[in-house]
């Protein structure tokens, strides 16, 4: 059990590393997606520990997993996709304006704009 959590923790850290250390803006968005995926995995993985059956109540179920984290994660997945869609559109616009994906270069080139 601990190994699974450690793996998810490592996935999270990989994504976070991409956000803070990589200068490429699309890579930063990848990092954002990865840390989101890690949190979603964590919620679902841990929420499924208390049961053995899917949370569909019409069958002869006795021991369902926790449905609350699942419902929360539906929302979280959608929000993360929306955020990355907007971020990508913005980064395409920035690329067209400056011709670069490097965040420092973009900042440098746009700082001369009035």
């Amino acid at each position: 059990m601990m190994i699974e959590r450690t793996l998810i923790f490592m996935i999270f850290l990989v994504g976070f590393w991409a956000i803070i250390a990589n200068k490429h803006i699309i890579k930063k968005i990848f990092g954002l997606n990865i840390i989101n995926a890690a949190v979603v995995l964590l919620f679902i993985l841990e929420g499924s520990r208390i049961g053995t059956q899917a949370p569909l109540l019409d069958m002869q179920v006795t021991n369902i997993v926790d449905p609350i984290p699942q419902a929360l994660m539906l929302t979280a997945i959608v929000i993360s996709v929306c955020v990355s869609a907007l971020a990508l559109a913005l980064s395409v616009r920035l690329f067209k304006a400056t011709g670069s994906f490097d965040i420092d270069v973009i900042q440098e080139r746009l700082s001369h704009e009035q």
Binding site: V40, L41, L45, G47, A54, Q70, L74, A85, L88, F101
Partner: protein, 79 residues
């Protein structure tokens, strides 16, 4: 089984941020989504699995590929 999938996801996520070709990264990212969807099925979360497969592997890949088509595929300028 869970462990294998998680190790694969970890390996793919390292590939996503290490790869020099953005298109490869996008495909790896959609692979992460597919593997997570598989994991969600194993973890008795079919609703989340459907959403992750449709949204994570579907729409977000489309948007990423669109963005890369309109910009540049390689990470660095080719000399």
């Amino acid at each position: 089984m869970n462990l294998i999938l998680l190790v694969l996801i970890l390996a793919l996520s390292i590939f996503v941020i290490a790869s020099k070709d953005l298109l490869h990264s996008v495909i790896a990212l959609s692979g992460i989504s597919m593997l997570s969807a598989l994991l969600f099925v194993l973890l008795k979360a079919p609703d989340v699995a459907i959403t992750e497969a449709a949204v994570g592997a579907g729409i977000s890949t489309v948007i990423f590929v669109w963005a890369i088509r309109h910009t540049r595929r390689r990470e660095k300028e080719e000399s």
